[in-house]
Amino acid sequence: MIPEIGTGVLLVALALAVYGAVVAAVGGRRGRPALVQSAQHAALGVFALLTAALLLLIYAFLTFDFSVRYVASNTNLGTPFYYRITAVWGALEGSIVLWAWMLGLYTLIVVLRHRTTARELYPWVLAVMLGVLAFFVLVMTVPAPVFTRMAPVPADGRGLNPLLEDSGMITHPVALYLGFTGFTVPFAFAIAALVTGRVGDFWITTTRRWTIVAWYFLSLGLLIGGWWSYHVLGWGGYWAWDPVENAAFMPWLTATALLHSVMVQERRRMLRLWNLALVVLTFSLTLFGTFLTRSGVIASVHAFTQGTIGVFFLGFLAVVVLVALALIAWRWDVLGAQGELDSVISRESAFLLNNVMLVAATFTVFFGTVFPLLAEAVRGEKVSVGAPFFNQVNVPLFLSLIFLMGVGPLIAWRRASLENLKRNFLGPVIVGVAAAALFRLLGVGSVLVAGSLALTLFVAACIAVDLFRAVRARRAMGERALPALGGLLLRHNRRYGGFVVHLAVLVVAVGVTGSQTWSVHTETTLKQGEQAELAGYRIRFEGLRESQESNHGKVTGTFTVLNGKAAGTVLEPAKKFYPQEQSPIAYVDYRLGLIDDIYLVLGDFARDGTSVTVKIQVNRMVSWIWLGGVVLTLGTLLSVLPERRKAA
C-alpha cells in the first residue's frame, strides 16, 4: 500500500513542480500575474505533497513496514525508536527526500516573504526554485526511487549501518542539507536578476539574510560532522580531507567569500559580476557535492552506492552551470563596475584579497579532489591525494585569511592613510609580536605554531580595539559601559555580529592549531590490572565484559584514569557486533576537557578477557573547536536580527 501511495504522491508532486516552473517563467516573461499566482499555488501544493511523502516514509519506518524496500534495507526489528526516524535519511534515497522537502520548505518561505516585495524578480525566482525542486523529485522517482515495493515481504529488515546510530546522525545531515538547499534561494534570485536585467543591488540585498542563514547551517553541519567523526570513528581526528568532506567544504568557502564581497558591492558598487559568479559557483558546488557523494566517481569512505543517479546529477549540474554562465555572458555589458579600486591599502582591497584567498582555497580543494580523475584520464595512473597536500597549500591561505580578519574591519575604505593605520593597528601589532616572542621563549611549538597563535591574538586585539573605542565614544556621551556595549551590539548588529563570528573562527583556529600540535597517542597491550601512561595520565585496565543489546552484542573494556584532574574517571570503550555487519564496530569512550580529551579505542582482545590492546589518545584543545561552534551561533543570531534605525 505505502509504496504505491508514496509513488503516486511523488508523481503528482513532480507534475506540479514542472507545471509551476513553466507557468512562472511564462508569467514572468509575459507579465501575467494570474499565471504567477497559479505557479505559486503549485509551489504550495508541491510542499504539501512532499511533506506527505516524508511523513509517509517516517510512518513506514515507525511501523516496520518492510514492504517498502528502503525500510527493509535500513532498519530491522531491533532498531531503537529514534534511530528509526533518523534512518529515514540514513541512505541515498531517503537523503534525497529530506533534501527535496527542505527545498520545498524554503520555496514556501520565499513565497510568503517575497511575493509582494520582489515584484519583478519574483516570477523567475519561483520558476528556478520549482525547476530545481522538479529535478530532485524526478531523482526520487526514477534513478533513486524511495517507494519501491519489496516482494516477497521479508520478516525482518537488514538494519541501519551501525556507524549511523549516533546523535550526530540526527543533526549532521539536517544541518548540512539546510545549508546546501539554502543556497538555492540566492541562486534563484541571481538568475532572476540576470534574466530580467535588474542586476543592481536589490537581488543581493534581498538575499543577504538567506546567504547568512544557509552559510550558518553549512558551518554547523561541517562542525557536527567533525564532532561525529571525532567521537565515533575512532581515529581521534575531525577532518580528513575526504572527497565528501571537501564537497561540503567548497561551497562553504565560496559562500564565505560571498558574505564579504557583498559588502563591497553595497558600499562601492563594485564586484557585481563577481558576486553573481560567486552565487552561481556556490550553488553549483552544492550540486557538485551531491554528485560526488552519490555517483561513485571518486572513491571515498563516505560514498553511497553507484548507479544511474550520477548521470542525472551530472546532467543537471551541466545544465545549471552552462545556462547560468550563458546568462552572465549575455548580460556582460550591464555588469560593469561603477566604482573603482583606489588603493591597495584599503578595505576594498582587504575584502578582495579575502575573496582571492578563499577562491584559491576552493580551487585547491577542488583540484586535489578531482586530481585522481585527471591523472587517470591523462596518464592512466591511479593516484590518491591525501591530507598532506591540502594542509600544505591551505594552511598559508587560511593564516592569511586570519590576518585579513583582523585588518579588514578596521582599515579605512578607499584609501587608508598612514595615520589611520597607526591608530588602528599599532596596539594589536605590538600584542601579536610580543605574544610570538613570548611563545618562542616558552618553547611553545614551532615557529609556525607560535606565529599562528600570535596571529589569533593580533586579530583578537584588533576586535578589542574597535569595541573599546566605540564603547568609549558612547561613554563620553554619558552612557555607562554595559548599556553602551549592549546598545552598540544591537544598533550595529551586522558589524558586531560579524565580529563575534570572527571570534568564533579564532576560537576554532586555536583549537585546530592546538590539537594538531600537541595531541599525543599510543597503543599498548595491557593485562588485567596493568597500567599505561600517556601525557602524565595513568590509565589502568580493569577488565572485559560482554552484553547483549537490542540489536547488537557488545564487548566492553573498563579502564580507570588514576591521576590528575580526571582521576577516578571510568572509561568504557567497546566493540559492537551487529549481525548484519562484516566485522565489529568500535565504540570510542572519551572524557572531554577544555584542554585535554582522554580518548580510548578498544583494539584486539584475548578470548578469556584477561588482556586487551588499547589505543590511547590525549587530544589537546579539541573542545575549542566545538566551543567555536557555540560562539558562531551567537554571532549569526546577532547578525540576522532585524536592523534598527542606525545613527547616521
Binding site: 586530481f371 552484542g553 568500535a586 584486539d604
Partner: protein, 144 residues
C-alpha cells in the same frame, strides 16, 4: 582595471598555481597492485597497495604490536608490516588497501590500512534464532 592590479593579480595567480601544482605532484600517492610494485619498487616512494590479504599470512603480536601479512593479487604477494592493530574490517581473505612505503629490507611498511565496506551485500553471521554464543568464543578462528 589598472594595469598594476592586473599584473599583481597575475603574479598571485601564478604563485598559487605553482603552489598547488607542486603540492599535488609531490604528495600524490600512487596506487599499485602487488605485481606492479614487485616489478618496479622504488624505496621511499609513497604507495597505496591494493589486493587480498593472503590466507595464513596474518601474524599479530599483541605484546609488540607488530602486525605482518601478505597482500596478493593472485599472481604476486608482497610482505607487509604494520605497527598497531588493524582496523575492524581487516582480515585474511579480504580486500584491503595499505598505504606506506617500500623499504630496502624487502617489505612494505604500512602506515595506514584501509579496508573497504561495501553497501551491496552482507556478511555471514550466526542465524538469528540461535543467539550468538559467548561472543568471545565466536572470535576464535572465524570462518574467514
Amino acid at each position: 582595471m589598472k594595469p598594476k592590479f592586473l599584473v599583481g593579480g597575475a603574479v598571485i595567480a601564478l604563485a598559487l598555481g605553482y603552489m598547488i601544482w607542486a603540492g599535488v605532484t609531490q604528495s600524490a600517492v600512487y596506487f599499485v597492485t602487488p605485481s606492479e610494485l614487485t616489478a618496479a619498487p622504488v624505496a621511499g616512494k609513497a604507495y597505496r597497495l591494493g589486493g587480498l590479504v593472503e590466507r595464513g599470512s596474518l601474524k599479530w603480536n599483541p605484546a609488540t604490536l607488530d602486525l605482518a601479512f601478505s597482500v596478493s593479487d593472485g599472481k604476486t604477494a608482497v610482505p607487509v608490516r604494520h605497527k598497531g592493530t588493524a582496523p575492524d574490517l581487516f582480515g585474511e581473505g579480504r580486500g584491503a588497501v595499505v598505504e606506506g612505503q617500500w623499504t630496502r629490507e624487502g617489505y612494505f611498511k604500512a602506515t595506514l590500512i584501509l579496508a573497504k565496506h561495501s553497501e551491496e551485500y552482507q556478511a555471514p553471521h550466526p542465524t538469528k534464532d540461535a543467539p550468538p554464543k559467548r561472543i568471545l568464543d565466536t572470535l576464535e578462528a572465524p570462518p574467514r
